[in-house]
Symmetry: C2
């Protein structure tokens, strides 16, 4: 009998990405069971809770210079408090941009481990011998340097898209995935990914917004590129915590 | 500004089906927004919580004649109580067989509406003019007559698979989907579905176990059949409750 720990997922940013994160987490748990030669049974999965709560737009809040603009923090604090009350020992945030508030959230709940997506991804890539990374993300994620800092700490070079490519990413995220126009999303994302590949050669392209993998799923256009899904890496890290395993890169 | 109500999903039975149910619920919410001509935004989704808790095997408990065998009830009661404490006004159970305990669970929490999958599906099919239904399910679901009763109440004829076909369904569910062998699952499920189609003609085939649609996803073999996914119908019903809309069939 394997002892598991309760874990939580802070989602709703957007809800489709949160749902997909649970799928990735369940897959990661099944993978761990198989790797240990254990049968995959319903009862062998760790208890986990998904909170999908309405949270004001993260990039919008980061962009705004007014004092009250950090309004995403309040609903995230409330949801995280409830996940903690449900017994969660570790929590993953299913939104890259929301990590702008990671430090504040972690400080408020020191008894739970709040995973950090960019640190998990950077450790994972560094362990795989990657040196050069290109980052597809929201303006908010670029603004706070979420991945740039974590990657520098891990010894990785981080290449960013040009201004018009960033605008195209934002269009794919908001007018594409979030609004349900997946064809537009795929067109926007694949064009930027191909440009990054052309410019930087053999580079790992991090899809640093949870909506981007949803838009690129099954896209033939980017078949030759090395795409990294941070949600998958983060889901593996959360599964490791649930089975109380060392926090080695997924 | 649309007023939404908090809703819950009782999952973990199995966890992959619970994750998929959240995806279907999010899709259903987006569909409702589009149908009302509203933009689909993260903040327009209702707050919803997914509880994925370990629950002893449901069919095993129903099959057993010993008094202590109804052990699935306890973890479901606990999880439902927590979903209620989180503010859920309506809850869906992401497992057909677990509906054996629907009445007990609903009686314990009279202030929340616990949706009933078979009643939602029966109302949905009757409203579409369907008369004949074939039911793919677990032994536990057949044992309690979950769909048979609800369909009779809705004026539908319910056809059941033969004994060896039922065994094949159980194999596809347990050795297939729950154990991660999707090729085995598809083979088991598609053969039974084709037999039902051959035997009963123009019949709506209800995939009355949440694992069956996961195993039949994208199966070309059953392309000509009319397959009904109760999880999709239930997810639409839950979305209607979240937006406080009349509980008309999805």
């Amino acid at each position: 009998m394997v002892v598991t720990r309760v874990v939580g997922i802070l989602g709703g940013m957007g809800p489709a990405a949160g749902a997909d994160f649970v799928r990735l987490f369940v897959e990661a748990c099944a993978g761990l069971m198989r790797a240990r030669g254990e049968p995959v049974r319903d009862q062998a999965f760790p208890e986990h809770w998904l909170a999908q709560v309405p949270v004001p737009d993260r990039t919008g809040a980061i962009d705004s210079a007014t004092p009250g603009a950090h309004q995403p923090l309040e609903p995230m604090l409330q949801a995280l408090g409830r996940l903690a009350a449900l017994g969660s020992r570790a929590v993953a945030i299913a939104c890259n941009t929301a990590h702008a508030w990671h430090g504040t959230l972690q400080a408020r709940f020191p008894h739970i481990e709040l995973l950090h997506v960019a640190r998990e991804v950077s450790a994972h890539l560094a362990a795989e011998g990657v040196r050069d990374v290109a980052l597809m993300a929201t303006e908010g994620t670029y603004r706070i340097g979420l991945y740039e800092h974590a990657m520098a700490d891990a010894g990785l070079r981080c290449h960013l898209p040009l201004a018009d490519e960033r605008r195209q990413l934002m269009r794919g995220i908001y007018d594409g995935v979030k609004a349900g126009d997946m064809a537009l999303a795929e067109a926007c994302f694949s064009e930027v990914a191909l440009q990054l590949g052309r410019r930087h050669g053999d580079v790992a392209i991090v899809m640093g917004c949870t909506e981007i993998p949803l838009g690129l799923q099954g896209s033939a256009a980017v078949g030759g590129l090395r795409l990294v899904d941070p949600a998958r890496v983060l889901a593996c890290a959360l599964a490791n915590r649930a089975y109380d395993m060392p926090s080695s890169p997924a």
